[in-house]
Subunit: 113 residues, 2 copies
DNA sequence: GAGACGTACAACCATTTGGTTGTAGGTTAG
DNA sequence: CTAACCTACAACCAAATGGTTGTACGTCTC
């Protein structure tokens, strides 16, 4: 079964925007390997708790992570589906480029006729 | 030959940032299929010439497109290498997630011992 | 040479972003 | 119960973003 790539431009904007920050990419790495609480994440960076909280919120709005409640903690866990969607778009773009090369080949072949 | 993924965090920030805009992704599609002048691109969008010029500049700073001079025109052409780099990072992230699943499998196996 | 075309770039503006501090509320430990 | 911990959220601020208009300069056409 092939995953449908029905994703709006707005969602893609949020997705790539969320990936366009070093701290957020690092949070993604950590929560892909294993879930972590917001304060555990905050302890890893040289910025305030609230700043890290905002980064997590950006990732969450992009669908890259989800939060689950566990007592007084909120555990953050990455969701690889949105990463796959972003990758799919890049693959689509690369295929456009290959298509250009194919057309170039076709034109060169025509010249030989 | 494998492409080395030596790219700084700052470059990745610019790369994903450049991809996080619908107009810029569209410019990328057009210039992947075939090169286009800045004014030709500007004619395709409902915004000023200068605005499109800025979008092209963002793509250029991220290394996603290059400009060549042809008379009074500047032809914009996409470079798929940076797209491949962004894709590589996403693949790396996805592999981290698979690693988590592997660890989970290992833990479950240990319980059976 | 004159005018039209294509581009670059500066100046300006509203909004968003990424950070801060402070306040408040739910949860756990002693 | 009280104190410490974890989180949420508002208010604020500087800088970046995405748009605009205006000006200037090289290039093509007639």
């Amino acid at each position: 079964m092939v995953v449908r790539l029905d994703i709006t431009d707005e969602e893609l904007d949020k997705l790539f925007r969320a990936l366009a920050d070093t701290t957020r990419r690092d949070i993604l790495r950590r929560t892909l390997v294993g879930e972590a609480s917001v304060s555990a994440l905050a302890g890893a960076y040289d910025m305030s708790f609230a700043a890290v909280q905002k980064h997590v919120a950006v990732l969450e709005a992009a669908g890259l992570v989800h939060k689950t409640t566990s007592g007084r903690e909120r555990l953050v866990r990455a969701d690889p589906e949105q990463i796959a969607r972003a990758r799919s778009l890049l693959v689509e773009l690369e295929s456009l480029w290959r298509h250009r090369l194919d057309r170039l080949d076709a034109i060169l072949s025509e010249d030989l006729e």
